[in-house]
């Protein structure tokens, strides 16, 4: 079945450093989504990418969708302590099912 792989599993950064998480799918994705889950919270939808090569920005967050629509990345510039949490990518599976990556847990040291 379809798999969505995400790396790294964990990332420790000093506040102000940049952070990137990568997502790869075994099959071509019709779209890809990114979610953030704060410690103790539930996943919250951040953004959806649909087009090949698409790049979207939300303040310090930059999201990219690969040309082949099989990979994606989330880059955070100058991390802040409020960025702490787990970032999940997710792709559309069969029957409207969303397949989540394993997540990247971000730790930010002040």
């Amino acid at each position: 079945g379809q798999q969505v792989m995400q790396i790294p599993q964990y990332q420790h950064v000093q506040e102000g450093e940049d952070f990137t998480t990568y997502c790869n799918s075994s099959t071509t994705l019709s779209n890809i989504q990114w979610y953030k889950q704060r410690p103790g919270g539930h996943p919250v939808f951040l953004i959806q990418l649909v087009k090949s090569g698409e790049v979207k920005k939300q303040k310090r967050l930059t999201f990219q969708f690969g040309e082949a629509k099989k990979n994606s990345s989330l880059h955070i510039t100058a991390t802040q302590t409020t960025d702490v949490g787990t970032y999940f990518c997710a792709g559309l599976g069969g029957g409207f099912k969303t397949i989540f990556g394993a997540g990247t847990r971000l730790f930010v040291k002040a």
Partner: protein, 115 residues
């Protein structure tokens, strides 16, 4: 987006008992889902809750263990039956919105501990 109310927010249960989790949405939605999330892990889809018909279960999950109801387009329940400590987890309901109905909006989750 949608506002999703899930309850209870947490519970501690005894082995062999059952717990029913409720999920209420503030608008009518076609797609509702139930997920399980082990601590520090990703989300695993349990089933798609279908309105007016039996839920569609993912591999490894069965109706006898996780019966689901979906009486209308704004409400669903998940029951965790005959619980064991291995069922201790976070259970989340979600609705699927957007063009492809796969942008997930989650309830706050139910943190279940089974003793």
């Amino acid at each position: 987006s949608a506002v999703i109310s899930q309850k209870p927010s947490r519970d501690i249960c005894q082995r062999g008992t059952s717990l029913t989790i409720q999920c209420q949405v503030d608008s009518q939605v076609t797609m509702m889902f139930w997920y399980r999330q082990q601590p520090g892990q990703s989300l695993t889809l349990i089933a798609t809750a279908n309105q007016g018909s039996e839920a569609t279960y993912e591999s490894g999950f069965v109706i006898d263990k996780f019966p689901i109801s979906r009486p209308n387009l704004t409400f669903s329940t998940l029951t965790v039956s005959n619980m064991s400590p291995e069922d201790s987890s976070i259970y989340l309901c979600s609705v699927g919105l957007g063009t492809a109905k796969n942008i997930q909006y989650f309830g706050a989750g139910t943190r279940l501990s089974v003793l």
